[in-house]
């Protein structure tokens, strides 16, 4: 790696933090193209298989030992449905409760507004750096780059998020963003990059995980102690009390939530829970579904400012960024129940083989394939391909702690993509003509029987063959036969066999 990342990218001024890869998510190729690189990477396939299999097993174990797990899932579903149904009410209630407790509440319609609000608060504190708790929503708004533009360095403090940031990389998983990296790659990144941005890694560091963790701890310590402002997301906001909740594993979150004077939390509007009691359901569902633990190591709940203890200036930015559009869709809105546990991607056979980057979205895997095209719309090639990035096996539905019918919503979104193309394309696509023809054919038994004449003719033509090998016909024929033989259709269909049998009787 000879590129000087400090000056890389379109901005000529030196980077304050490691530059992420160039290009935007929306500019990424459609899923079927994006997966090629990943599928060829044997190391990645092995890393992913090992990691997802392990975590999948842990989740299954932890879910199975709760005798009322299914009831708990139903409760989670119903509480979140209630939030969606009365979102207007709970948002106002939450704002009032938070304000009463001393939190300044901001409203952001979209990513740009949210980023502007955060940048302004940080600037008003006269700081040129912030520490961050791992947060999906600030990935969604690309806050780090907005801060960088404004001359403020944003430091990720979650270990895996730090690996991603130092590696000039993108997260590939919502819970373990560096799942695509193994320990020797992490060692290389630490050795090469840490010194450029703060305390370097010890030159003789090995790829032993405790040593790597110790290097990260030392590197982050000075940033924790120096930072005046911290930025977080939020797992839940309790509307009744105005309490904000963050669950985490490493304790870096607790550092960010207690050391700096100012704390800004960016939270999606769907993250509300009506009452404090509702946490009982989610604090059981979430850790068991995500890390496969009975409890997560750190749960932080804060209700406004406590004088002389912790941050004295608290802000919450409530973000829409497409969520109200999702809520308006009676089928798609069920995706808003998501609590970002990642169980769906850990169990997904497609994710297991391609990883998170090919999804072109901060939310990869099954949930990303239904949420992202709803939040961003279906105008771009990547968003149009996401609902199709699934075999509809349904494994995700069964593990979702809030019972999101992911495969039904995938199909619903496929319908939306087809409708969108129908409206925006001047000419019908080849696929739409093909399916129109099939639809017509399946309308009547005689029509299907008529079409079967063709398959039988092919069978008679190649009567000695039992299988068809590679076909050099572009499109679906070669897509099937490149790696799979296709059985020859039989000379006699079932309906013909039936007729012949009836005649003999």
């Amino acid at each position: 790696m000879s590129i000087d990342h400090r000056t890389e990218g379109s901005v000529a001024k030196p980077r304050l933090t490691p530059a992420p890869p160039t290009g935007s998510y929306l500019g990424m190729p459609a899923f079927p193209k994006g997966v090629k690189k990943e599928l060829e990477n044997q190391q990645l396939r092995r890393n992913l298989r090992h990691a997802t299999t392990t975590i999948r097993g842990k989740r299954a174990l932890r879910a199975a030992e709760v005798h009322d797990w299914e009831e708990l899932r139903v409760a989670g579903e119903q509480i979140k449905n209630r939030v969606g149904r009365h979102l207007d009410h709970y948002l106002v209630q939450a704002e009032e409760a938070m304000t009463r407790a001393g939190i300044t509440v901001h409203w952001a319609r979209d990513a740009e507004e949210a980023n502007r609000i955060v940048v302004e608060i940080a600037k008003s504190k006269g700081t040129d750096e912030v520490v961050k708790i791992k947060s999906m929503v600030t990935q969604e708004t690309e806050l780090n780059e907005a801060l960088e533009e404004a001359g403020i360095a944003a430091w990720e403090t979650d270990l895996a998020e730090l690996i991603v940031q130092l590696g000039h990389d993108r997260p590939s998983h919502i819970l373990v963003p560096a799942i695509h990296r193994n320990r020797s790659e992490v060692r290389e990144i630490f050795l090469e990059e840490m010194g450029n941005w703060g305390t370097p890694a010890p030159p003789d560091i090995s790829d032993d995980p405790p040593e790597l963790a110790a290097a990260a701890r030392t590197h982050l310590r000075e940033k924790f102690l120096r930072a005046k402002v911290a930025i977080s997301g939020g797992n839940f906001i309790v509307a009744e009390t105005g309490s904000v909740v963050i669950v985490e594993s490493e304790g870096n979150g607790r550092m960010c939530l207690t050391l700096p004077e100012t704390l800004i939390s960016v939270v999606g509007i769907e993250k509300l829970l009506p009452t404090f009691e509702d946490l009982e359901v989610f604090l059981r569902l979430l850790p068991r579904s995500s890390t496969g633990e009975r409890m997560n190591p750190y749960t932080s709940i804060w209700t406004g400012v406590t004088e002389g203890d912790g941050p004295q200036d608290l802000h919450v930015v409530l973000l829409d960024n497409g969520r109200t559009n999702v809520l308006a869709d009676p089928v798609g809105r069920e995706a808003l129940r998501c609590i970002r546990c990642s169980a769906c991607m850990n169990v997904c056979p497609v994710y297991e083989r391609v990883g998170g980057h090919a999804y072109g979205s901060v939310y990869p895997g099954p949930i990303g394939s239904i949420l992202t095209p709803q939040l961003r719309g279906v105008a771009s090639p990547i968003d149009q391909s996401l609902p199709f990035a699934s075999s509809l096996c349904g494994a995700c539905n069964d593990v979702c702690p809030v019972r999101i019918p992911i495969s039904d919503i995938l199909v619903h979104m496929r319908h939306k993509v087809v409708e969108y193309k129908r409206k925006t394309h001047k000419l019908p696509t080849g696929e739409s003509l093909l399916f129109k023809g099939i639809g017509w054919m399946m309308g009547k038994g005689q029509r299907l029987a008529g079409a079967q004449v063709a398959t039988q003719a092919a069978a008679r033509l190649m009567k000695r063959r039992k299988y068809i090998g590679p076909l050099p016909i572009p499109g679906y024929p070669s897509a099937w036969t490149n790696a799979r033989d296709l059985p020859m259709p039989p000379a006699q269909t079932f309906r013909e066999w039936w007729d012949a049998r009836e005649e003999q009787r």
Partner: protein, 253 residues
Amino acid sequence: MKPGDGKTVALFATCINDTMFPTTPQAVVTVLERLGCKVVFPKSQTCCGQMLTNTGYYDEAVPSVRNYVRTFEDYDYIVGPSGSCIGAVRHQHPMLAEHAGDKALKSVSEEVVKRTYDFSEFLVDVLDVTDVGAYFPHRVTFHPTCHSLRVAKVGDRPMQLLRAVKGITILDLPDAEQCCGFGGTFSVKNSEVSVAMATDKARNAVSTGAEYVVAGDNACLMNIGGVLHRGNTGVKPIHLAEILAQTEEAAIA
């Protein structure tokens, strides 16, 4: 007295079996008649419409729903040898009728759906049999298929039926419940991922030492079998119904 005596079954062959794998619905006829059922094959039948629905073509799938309802509404038992097609009928037809804005179609569809059974469900739940008098002296491994498990929700019924087959050796398939990568048009729209999944499934099937990989769905078997055949593995795909249709008498004769 046979378990099927007095029962008339309308066979839903499914379009793919009718066209590509006729020996499977033939086997269903053999087993059901052996158990005493009267089997009819309403010739106006076509397809469950799943391929259209799951590719996003709702409007185009509605004629399949209408045709299914018209074809089968007069029968008490509608039986098909596919967890996926049966699952699609039960799970998607009322939704498609609603999409078409046809309340009458939706209400009839909701009734017809209740009388629609996967072959394994009909045997175990309605006829209350697991031993259908089958004989199959071979080593097999069983792939449960995603839609049989998670849409039609047939549970362990296929396995109950297999265990009762005389002479059979059932070998455990590693990662049995993971998808084979077929997924309808997924297999051609995302063929590379699909093949990666099918290759793992085929490798697991070969690792068992089985002669046959068994499933309740020929679409999945076409996918797994395609990889098995390309790799000259010698492991053959076979539908559950075709195992259940074989008897000791037939084997000796």
